[in-house]
């Protein structure tokens, strides 16, 4: 029985070294970061209620399967910043307000850390979610038509109606409008702007060329 017991002991000791180092350290250190006071309010900024709901739609749709949300450090690669996906590398503090940090592992679409600064027109987002290959020819993003519904035009065209002309255009007298989920999702995407300056970032990393 001794041998079994000593085997268990060694397994547990070695196993716990990585558990303590990665999990417990992360929880105690990174997990207790505090927000900082910036020149224009508390950083990182709070998400709006609608954006928080939108993050759930983002999770439910599995956007993270193809889109990352991390800009890599400059001593590793410049390509993320050269592609204008961000103005500075991501830091742990950027994820402070996220319920789930959608880091992502695979890029089959562009990084979304700062998509809200790059693209500011909600209608563009609706159109792109509805028929991606019409908005961005060559895109392999699937259509998210299930986040929209078609309705009869009552009087004037709705402000949020998508200007569809291609194969998915609605019949005359009808319009395609986003559902609540699509509106929340776009509110979340529009709020993805990690372009504020954090004290630790400006101190540690050189600014992008």
């Amino acid at each position: 029985m001794n041998r079994l017991r000593s085997l268990f002991l060694i397994i547990i000791l070695l196993f716990f070294s990585s558990w303590l180092g990665v999990v417990v350290y992360s929880y105690l250190e990174l997990g207790h970061f505090k927000s900082v006071a910036g020149s224009d309010g508390i950083l990182p900024p709070y998400y709006s209620g609608q954006a928080i709901l939108g993050a759930r739609v983002y999770a439910a749709s599995g956007c993270m399967t193809c889109h990352t949300q991390q800009i890599r450090q400059l001593d590793v690669t410049h390509s993320d910043i050269d592609r204008k996906w961000g103005t500075r590398p991501s830091v742990a503090l950027d994820y402070l307000r996220d319920q789930t940090a959608f880091l992502g592992k695979r890029r089959m679409g562009p990084d979304l850390s700062n998509v809200g600064s790059r693209l500011t027109d909600p209608i563009w987002y609706y159109h792109h979610l509805y028929e991606p290959d019409q908005v961005t020819p060559g895109s392999i993003m699937p259509s998210y038509r299930y986040l929209f519904h078609m309705q009869k035009i009552q009087g004037e065209l709705s402000a949020q109606a998508i200007p569809l002309t291609g194969p998915h255009a609605p019949p005359p007298g009808y319009e395609v409008v986003p559902t609540k989920d699509a509106q929340d999702l776009v509110a979340y995407l529009l709020s993805l702007k990690h372009d504020y300056t954090l004290p630790e970032v400006s101190a540690e990393t050189p600014s992008a060329p």
């Binding site: 990665v22 999770a59 749709s61 399967t65 991390q70 690669t77 994820y95 290959d133 392999i140 259509s143």
Partner: protein, 483 residues
Amino acid sequence: MNNATTLSKIEPASYLSEPLPLDASKRLEIDRSLSVPILFLMRSSFFSFSLALFLISICAVKLVFPSFLDGISFLTYGRLFPVAYDLFIYGWAIPLGFALILWLMARLSATPLSHIRILTAAAHLWNSALFLGSLAVLAGYGTSVIFLEYPNWASFLLFVSFLLMGLWVLLLTQERKERALYVSEWYLLTALCSFPWIYGTANLMLTWGKIQGSAQGPIQCWYAGSLMQFWLTPIALGTIYYLIPKITGVKIYSYYLALFGFFSLLLFSGWNGLSSLIGGAIPAWMMSAGVVTNIMLVLPMIAVVINFYWMFQESEKLILHQSPALRFVAAGIISYVIATVLSLVSSFPCFNAILNFTDYLSGTFLLFFLGFFGMTLFGGLYYFIPRLTGISWSSSKLIQFHFWLSVVGISLMVSSMVLGGMIEGVAFNDPVITFTNILSYTLPWNVLVTLSWFLLLLGFFCFMRLLVTMRWEMIEEKLPMPR
């Protein structure tokens, strides 16, 4: 009590992988006691595996024809893909690994199982949680944490049922009649004890309760890395350490090498997941720890491979040609070597800058998962199933088809992903090349990957065909049907 001395005082018997042949009636008693829960776990794992292969094939087609089945919420790529991977892991790799643990531990400790009802009930609970959890992800209740997509109630049920099953095997080790502890058992016990801990911790911090977002990244990566190194690797290695000596009759070449391989694996595992955050938002020391340990994981690989190599060298060549199990195991070992080297290359920061976020890493994972773990476990199944049911395989031709379709499928898939990923990565690093251009470079490789998924599906059908024949024979011979 001094650990080092007690461990080194191992009597020669433990150079063998199993106690000296048990007498036939004893062996039959053990096998009888096992067949119901084990065959149940195996059957459900085969079902999940075929479902996962089917779903991932749809995903692969979607990458080539994005409009295929699009616009349907529960068939959208972002839901289908995680469900396919979760079925691979929680539907196939874990129940199948557990079935092998159960069998090997009972055989190695020469103890028949008792009270199998609790075990079977826990396995049913596992399957229900898996099924409902997968439906929930398809319906949009997924968490979007890699490998932990199931909603919290489903993952909690999975956790509880694994604890029930796992405690069961631990009791078995307490009742053991055989005193020596074999190399296989080191690995299997490691997998058995660490899985609930890593699964519990990761869920506790990421889905059951959510810690602050700034700390989630490293823990997500820790979980993915630990799942590979604390479940997939030990189970595959434990199976190989059992099968080679058992089939060839050759002793484990070097006990100390085995010991070194085992402890170095334990030491570096768990940290290695951090290497997927190279350049990411983590402290610099964590990044270095990830890089170093991912490189050091070559050591346990070399240690076990030297051991296996010498065992193969000393065995009769005829056995190697005749045993389907050993052929699958050999393919598994080769995959292990290549996957470790590929992962080593991608963990150098200069290469990682190019290869990260591309198919290179997916290809490495799939080589590890399907090539190393999958092929090794299929080898184990070709050895175990006839012994559990008492019926031999009906067609060696179908076994060959299964083997070659899998080998060609996996090689084609991994080479296209690795090559495609390199091209993709180089293009990523040139900001002049637009994103849609990069996608057009990857298209031909995606076609090849789709083709290889279909080859794998075809190979698995051959295996299922063999199992169906076995069932018919069971009915004809009026053997007690394992329920």
